[in-house]
């Protein structure tokens, strides 16, 4: 076999490898799809929930396809994102009525969920001494998943989620920055 043929074989094998990874990645994130459908069904803005949900699915697939550090962000990102999602979906069913009328508890649930997700991701990231790819992947994934539920009160709910997430992450990062540590384990 001459070198040109060998190069062709190598190129085909490389394509097969990438396709294999993409298929495996899509299958790995597929369990998110029923969650997206459930969130869209219970959401007052199903279009927005679908958009964020498909974004989470595509991002999860891409992270698993890339592999290495980004792929290790998928499970923590999904687990953290499930917290604001579930809180927001539950809160959306509860109404609080006052003299000015009734409203849901969606916004506080999004802020609290974002806070918990941010704190969880920060604690895990610091313990793992994760790199920027892990932080970016886990944060984006958890925010996209959480935003599916937080779109219940429009983009202000999503903004509340982002704010809560930032408040959850920043103190731990600051604590880490000011605390002297030993060499990585």
């Amino acid at each position: 076999m001459d070198s040109a043929e060998l190069q062709q074989v190598r190129a085909r094998a490389r394509r097969a490898y990438e396709w294999g990874r993409i298929r495996r990645a899509a299958l790995g994130v597929a369990p998110v799809l029923p969650l997206v459908a459930l969130a869209a069904y219970h959401s007052s803005r199903p279009g927005t929930a679908w958009t964020f949900g498909m974004g989470a699915f595509l991002l999860g697939t891409a992270l698993l396809w890339v592999g290495r550090e980004p792929q290790r962000a998928v499970l923590p990102g999904l687990a953290a994102g499930a917290v604001p999602l579930v809180l927001a979906l539950c809160a959306n069913q509860v109404h609080v009525c006052g003299p000015d009328g009734c409203s849901t508890l969606c916004m506080p649930a999004c802020i609290a969920g974002g806070l918990a997700a941010g704190a969880g991701i920060a604690a895990l990231g610091l313990r793992r001494r994760a790199g920027w790819a892990w932080w970016a992947g886990a944060s984006s994934l958890s925010l996209l998943l959480g935003a599916m539920g937080c779109s219940c009160v429009g983009y202000s709910g999503v903004a509340g989620l982002f704010g809560g997430y930032a408040v959850g992450v920043i103190p731990l990062l600051l604590k880490r920055a000011v605390t002297p540590t030993g060499p990585a384990a």
Binding site: R10, A13, A16, R21, R24, Q71
Partner: protein, 177 residues
Amino acid sequence: MNTLEDAELDAWMARLADGDRSAFDGVFERLHGPLNRLCLGFLGDEADAADATQEALQKVLERASDYDPARRALPWALALAGWECRTVARRRQRRREVPEAEAGVRPGADEEEAFAQRKLVEAAMAVMGTLSEQDRETLTATFWEEAGPVAGATFRKRRERALTRLRQAFWRIHGLG
């Protein structure tokens, strides 16, 4: 391939399974030769062996992300390649059956012997397909005289059990012991 090269291939394959693309060329280089030799041994024809090697390499690398670093990479790849050789052999048989029947060709003694040899290999591969993945890996490693997934006495016991199951399956399918 010696033990050091085996260990090196295991490490390259584990990195590739984790998504480290820089390990791709190393895995490709180390697998191409052994897979080609295996296919040539099974098929006896260089062109068919090249086709089978190409398809086997694609299959192995397509499944590279499923590779379990606790197992040896070469027997795993050879078992997949053996299966691919069987598929190519079947395809070739179907392709050649029709023209030979139409031409009424009577093969010579050497051709008959080669044909019988190929038939035996195909029959063995068909029986191999009924065995577990671990048995297939063990028998492929034995055939190829490579280090199996485990070493020493455990491997010998595993080989004996796999051979017994191969004989039983051969007898069950082809009526021969």
